[in-house]
Symmetry: C2
Subunit: 431 residues, 2 copies
């Protein structure tokens, strides 16, 4: 392993292959980063496909949180199978080096997928050869189980390092959690504009972890349901509605400070500039939802299905007026409409940064879609933010949407700050 | 329903939304179909993102067979729950109209997702609102079970219409088929460059089928593993190898006639210009494969992992020399190498048109990837083509690759010819 994020001279790097093989992945009119042509004596700069470009790995914060949400997700939760502190630190170092390479479009390892000894297994599994970086970000988080065992006994010498905020989420009314889809000592969130690139990233990190950590569950996702940048169009969830209109955006500096990043003095030092990640696998009763009349669907959500404008009037990004009444004298946005119950005004001002994805896991035994939302949210304080909002939403007496959705998986992870050029994930935790 | 593939004036069509909302889905530099700008007095034509454009639905053959393989797949096999011929014909007519609309980027139905009566369920489920057509093709096939029941008794008055070629595939050595992942009376293959568009297509067809057919199984796929056009780069499978290098291409007119399209006089008239579809869900023992040294992996496949060139020498598209020997005096492409066993020279000249996709269904109970290849092949004569080749590959005594893969699902479908502007899928079968 090396800390050099450029491809080794000896290897057949993806970057080198890109010129020939990656062309098909770039949109027409974009023949390569920075390439150009001329019409007469007028130079025309060709803009490369932004979906193919790399996203910087190093920084104050981990990438993949406020990064404009990529189109595809592969998420994995792992259990540590070692009890050695040294093993864990080495694993985090090796993961950091691998992520540094993969996010920049390079193979894992010194020799990569197709060089090195022909008698040894390749260092990289190879299925991303020839694909561009595709906006890959890899974000990791630490579960409570990494700090303490089931009896509260410290693991890995991390006595006194467990953040107060990393306590198990409460069971919410209506939860039907499957233990196999909950928890995990480590989380990997790989987002990219090409699912093969996201899968390659998780597969190689899991492979590196062999003998130290194994996968508890993993989840593919597509069609990001939350825009995390004001430059992004709001995508639709499997209910057919725009989701994430009122989400915190990367451009809202104050909201990021207030609601996403852990500041100094707010919990352990090693989490400064980090964030807490909540995941929820939410199954949807798609076929039943599809039987609900349009007016009913819109009343449940509190927005129109077409434009996403609030039922109180106006277009998608117009302010929600919770007091407005319709011609019938009833509240335009009902008392139990999803947007009302989830809104900061009804949650002591709480906001979360969402970056969830739709999923389809095929069909169930009844021939119905096994589909829904893999909900992902980042926040400074899970208790005051996700838990506050979810308590407001959960239970059949509240959000009518609960008739159509079921939470089956759950996770909470402390995501450390970003890494420096020489550093590794969680370095300050072990310092 | 109407046969008009353009959006209804009353509805909020995806095409209309595209101008505003679809922009994010188009690559930089491509601001809309046919749009352009000028530099000085030189007009510059902006090429729209080819991945966003519609593919014609009507034609001599169904789209989605020789169509350059799109990036994403959603496949569903359905069982007919009606015994009424009239129901089946109406279903096929309704499916045809819905596919005609969706493939051109429009909502299903007269009023679509967000118009029509607010008191009725929307005709379209809405999650593709604002997304471009994304190269969507919908291809359907008829399983043996549509023609005869388990005792060979005709269904739907289709006496004498069952093609001889639509007989159950034999059980191959090493098969570990799961009945729940096999068969089906009807198949829907939806391919698109956006998974949400492919999911939307299948979801809406399944919804239309309610009371007449229900889903037996469905499968998501990504990272097409076969290039079906010589303009496409060969993609990689989950083994990290280029797959489909020697595939029949849309440009090979003679091969298409010889191996893909059913000609007049070759079986029932209603299948002329149709093709037979074989599907195989192939699980891969990914973690074991990743332990195999590079040289071993390459020997098993018969090609290099990097360029995809044959082990007999040369680059990806160079001819395979099955007699060439290495420095050690052994055959360069071994006797049981996958490319040798699968090659026409060793299969009485048989070729198939492949358009399979990688899949990742999460992880299994051992923390291993539930991943592999959803194999899809089109051919004139399954017995002489897929069955011939698979017999050569199957069994541990043959292709060493069988140590790393397991066939768990299987299907065979007769795909009728394409539809005319006024016609419907399978029209000639019921004439």
């Amino acid at each position: 392993m090396t800390t050099d994020s450029s491809a080794p001279e000896s290897g057949l790097s993806r970057r080198k292959l890109l010129g020939a093989a990656g062309l098909g992945a770039l949109a027409a009119g974009a023949v390569g980063a920075g390439a150009g042509f001329a019409i007469g004596d007028k130079p025309v700069e060709v803009v490369p496909d932004p979906d193919a470009l790399p996203i910087p790995f190093e920084g104050k914060h981990q990438a993949g949180i406020v990064t404009p949400a990529q189109d595809r997700l592969y998420f994995a939760a792992l259990d540590l199978t070692t009890e050695s502190r040294g093993d864990l630190i080495l694993l985090l170092k090796e993961w950091t080096e691998a992520a540094r390479k993969m996010t920049q479009g390079n193979d894992v390892g010194e020799f990569g997928a197709v060089a090195g000894s022909p008698f040894a297994p390749p260092e990289d599994t190879g299925e991303a050869l020839g694909l561009p970086p595709s906006g890959l970000t890899i974000t990791i988080g630490f579960g409570r189980g990494m700090f303490v065992d089931g009896k509260g006994k410290p693991r890995f010498g991390l006595d006194g390092k467990l953040p107060d905020r990393l306590k198990d989420l409460p069971l919410f009314s209506g939860d039907r959690l499957d233990d196999a889809l909950c928890g995990g000592d480590l989380a990997i969130q790989a987002c990219a504009n090409d699912p093969q690139v996201a899968v390659h990233a998780v597969r190689n990190l899991v492979r590196i972890a062999f003998g130290r950590a194994s996968v508890r569950y993993s989840q593919m996702g597509f069609g990001r349901t939350s825009s995390t940048s004001s430059a992004q169009v709001t995508a639709r969830n499997m209910l057919g509605f725009k989701d994430g209109t009122a989400n915190i955006k990367a451009e809202d500096a104050k909201d990021l400070d207030d609601f996403v990043w852990v500041p100094k003095g707010d919990g352990p030092d090693w989490m400064v500039n980090g964030s807490y990640l909540v995941t929820r696998k939410i199954d949807m009763r798609i076929e039943i939802w599809d039987r609900e009349p349009l007016e009913g669907q819109e009343a449940i959500i509190g927005r129109t299905k077409g434009s996403g404008g609030p039922l109180s009037g106006g277009d998608e990004f117009d302010k929600l007026d919770f007091k407005a009444k319709g011609e019938d004298g009833e509240l335009a946005i009902g008392k139990v409409a999803h947007v009302r119950l989830a809104h900061p005004d009804f949650n002591k001002g709480a906001k979360i940064l969402r970056r969830g994805y739709n999923f389809v896991d095929g069909s169930n035994g009844l021939g119905q879609l096994s589909a829904g939302l893999f909900f992902i949210a980042y926040q400074r304080d899970p208790e005051k933010q996700f838990v506050q909002i979810q308590r407001n939403l959960a239970g059949k007496l509240n959000d009518v949407l609960n008739e159509y959705i079921v939470h089956v998986g759950s996770g909470l992870f402390a995501c450390p700050p970003g890494v420096t050029t020489e550093g590794y994930w969680g370095e300050k935790l072990f310092a």
